[in-house]
Symmetry: C2
Subunit: 161 residues, 2 copies
């Protein structure tokens, strides 16, 4: 009972061809980013951080006095989406949210001691995660990739720089 593909209207596909997609930078970026993201989630889990809470915490720790609107800009996310992130970091006492005296609409963000320490510990784990995923990639290639990613982002704002 050897089934020949001949007469059957549907063929068994042995190897899936992605010829129309494989040369798209966006397609490969998405697939690679999924891999990176999955590993980063595992990396940050012990710290009870996610990509966005980690990024926000580090930026706050490194930029004391930062306002939420500045942070949202820096993180390239919408203001409403930042609120829950800040809420979470504040609830865990990793940051403080202080009213700015000179502009009482705004909040100034500061990492607490606990937040500073957590950011440092998580950053070490993230560095190991990068090395794990990219250790085989030589430094030249890595720099080329980062430059390319930066270029894509800049194209967004119309600048060729």
């Amino acid at each position: 009972m050897t089934p020949t593909a001949k007469s059957t209207p549907v063929l068994r596909v042995d190897k899936v061809s992605d010829a129309r997609l494989r040369d798209l930078v966006g397609y490969q970026m998405k697939r690679a980013f999924n891999v990176v993201q999955a590993d980063l989630i595992r990396t940050l889990k012990p710290f009870e951080l996610r990509m966005l809470t980690y990024t926000a915490l580090v930026l706050i720790a490194d930029n004391p006095g930062l306002r939420q609107s500045q942070l949202a800009d820096a993180m390239d996310i919408e203001r409403p989406n930042l609120v829950v992130i800040i809420d979470e970091l504040e609830r865990r006492a990793l940051i403080n949210r202080d009213r700015v005296a000179s502009d009482r609409r705004a909040f100034a963000l500061m990492a607490t001691l606990a937040g500073t320490h957590l950011a440092a510990a998580a950053s070490k784990a993230v560095a190991r995660h990068e090395h794990r995923l990219l250790g085989a990639m030589d430094q030249d290639t890595r720099e080329t990739v980062i430059a390319a990613m930066t270029q894509i982002q800049q194209g967004q704002h119309g600048g060729t720089k």
Copy 2:
């Protein structure tokens, strides 16, 4: 009244420093991918396609007889998440879902004529979108980036190739 950092609890941040993040490939990939994704969404909107429905449609069109499980593997998504995508494409009569005679658990996927045409039209728009975003990037760099993205994906499965 020059405010020295000393006594003031909160400082105004003029320029946000991302020193701890900017050299992370994952960080730059995320930001660049957000830009690409936003533009791709706009690109596919006229065709009423999204990233995943576009990818699925092209892969089905180029691999007639494909099974859902093969497609899920090729797209690197979980089977349950593919179902709604296939449902949508079938509802729009862009693909057919036929029972495989030799294995009645499986479905063989085939693009309809309409699906084939939509995939072709959308692919042209996607090519323009890539050119718009990456036109300024020279071919060498583009190939290096794609190779790097592929390498990251392969690292996932433990193979160094």
